[in-house]
Amino acid sequence: MSGRVVARVAVARDAEFQALLRAAQAGAEWALARLYRDAHPRLLRYLRARHAVDPDDLAADVWLEAATKLERFHGDEVDLRRWLFTIARRRLVDGKRREARRRTEPVAAETLASVPAPDDPEAAAIGAVTLETALRRVAALPRDQADVVLLRVLGDLSVEDVAELLGKRPATVRVLQHRALARLSRELSQLLVTR
């Protein structure tokens, strides 16, 4: 596909998104449903991989906050995703700070059961990398590396966008993503060898 065709497709896609955005800003539920179907699974996976206490409620809060400011939003599809992930990450950090202040609060059994184990023998036995397995693997990474991988994969954000969102330099983000890839590769290789 030539560059000119790619540009035309991008322009057409952007025009389609702008029409969708205007309808959503007017309150059309069909447009809001399309935006929701595109972005909500990504937000939910991000929050789950980042060990959110209640990912579903947190994702719903992200949407409600975005709804209050949707009429003032201007940008393309990538901008909308970056905006939503910014809200999600801020709420996630706020939730973790509240958890840190309530150290004596007991953790529910369901939450412990959902915490992924990096060396899950069941997943290794299955031999297929499902969504849950992938989330567990990424969740096992250090926090910064997990953030970079999740935002780059789920948010389709560039290194610069991730750097801006995380408040880091692009070079730092590149280092983090390289380390994350190396670590994932090493762990997955060991898992396959073990199997």
């Binding site: 909500h40 719903a60 390289h178």
Partner: protein, 360 residues
């Protein structure tokens, strides 16, 4: 750059440049095309990018409905609340304008002394606190009753620009004394006590004009309580001392009642009347004459002149008595014209038709 990457224990021996990392993370590199060691990562990234599951979209309806309600609530009320805000602003402006106009009108009425008694007192007290002198009501001025005020007249302006109380303090008692002694014409102050008698003269049905010695304001208050401008058809008959006479009435003796009010000179003897006024300004003569006023025709002026000739010594004697009975003049600016006119009147007391006032 590969040196420090190779030495990093977390990096291992995996050779991943930025371009390859971007392709893997964006899902643009299929696992089968990935280099060794990265195929598993490509599989993991593809799993992360999998299609949404039904569990993930289980709350779609509720969440989308809530989002739509929020978005609509934030767009519709904005358009609906703006006119309300404008309406509130308009009401506020109207209320402020009304309050300002009401305050201004009240202040103007208070300055004119036209407020009711208690309100005038309150307004006087309040305005005095901010340095504005406003006359008090008539109830609080026992020394200077102002009957002319009941006729709707405006308060007279004093020479110093202070209305009401100051005028009465200067002219009121003096004028009342003059009215009692009937020796001197009253000052051009409305509502002087000396004109109570004068006001009764036209009401007696004698058809006489008000005394000529009255100042124009006195004529207004005494004989012309309401009109201010006499109709033309009254020219031949009894002219009830109008404020301004039409030209056809002024053929013989022009009425100066209206003209003198505009001069506002602090005269005591009514010198501000017009030059062609042949009548003396003596209140005594006015009472004696009962004849035509300055608005009357020429024929009636003869009667007035004859009356004046009948008692030629009256003016001089009356003025002497007046000077003797007059209290000392309060300090203030003395009108040289008034003084000159009075001196001239003393010099020629007997000739009232061609006196100094007429030739002035």
């Amino acid at each position: 750059m590969t040196d420090w990457l190779d030495r990093d224990p977390e990096m291992g021996t995996l050779a991943v440049d930025s371009y390859l990392a971007d392709r893997i993370l964006s899902g643009g590199l299929p696992p089968e095309e990935s280099p060794a060691g990265l195929a598993e990562v490509a599989v993991l990234v593809r799993a992360l990018r999998a299609e949404p599951t039904t569990e993930e979209l289980a709350r779609q309806e509720q969440t989308v409905a809530a989002i739509g309600a929020i978005v609509r609530s934030r767009t519709e009320p904005v358009a609906a609340s703006r006119p309300r805000r404008r309406l509130g602003t308009t009401r506020l402006r109207v209320a402020l304008a009304f309050a300002a106009s009401l305050l201004g009108a009240t202040t103007a009425l208070a300055a004119a002394g036209e407020l009711p008694g208690r309100a005038q007192d309150v307004a006087s007290d309040v305005l005095r606190t901010i340095g504005i002198e406003v006359p008090k009501s008539e109830d609080e001025q026992p020394s200077a009753p102002r009957p002319g005020r009941s006729n709707g007249e405006a308060p007279a302006q004093s020479p110093t620009g202070v209305a009401g109380t100051a005028d009465e303090g200067r002219f009121g008692p003096l004028a009342r004394r003059r009215g009692e002694t009937e020796t001197a014409p009253p000052p051009p102050v409305a509502g002087d006590g000396a004109h109570d008698e004068v006001r009764e003269q036209p009401a007696a049905g004698s058809g006489a004009a008000p005394p000529t010695g009255l100042s124009p304001l006195d004529q207004e208050s005494g004989a012309a309580p309401s009109t201010g401008v006499s109709p033309p058809d009254q020219g031949g008959g009894v002219a009830p001392s109008t404020g301004v006479s039409p030209p056809d009435q002024d053929a013989g003796a022009p009425a100066e009642a209206g003209t003198t009010t505009e001069e506002e000179e602090p005269t005591e003897t009514g010198e501000v009347t017009e030059d062609r006024d042949p009548k003396p300004k003596d209140p005594e003569k006015n009472e004696d004459s009962q004849g035509p006023g300055p608005d009357h025709a020429d024929g009636e002026d003869e009667t007035d002149a004859e009356d004046a000739d009948a008692e030629p010594e009256t003016d001089a004697e009356a003025e002497d008595e007046e000077d003797a009975a007059r209290p000392p003049r309060p300090p203030g600016p003395r009108n040289p014209r008034a003084a000159d006119a009075r001196d001239n009147a003393r010099a020629a007391p007997t000739d009232t038709r061609a006196g100094p006032r007429g030739s002035r």
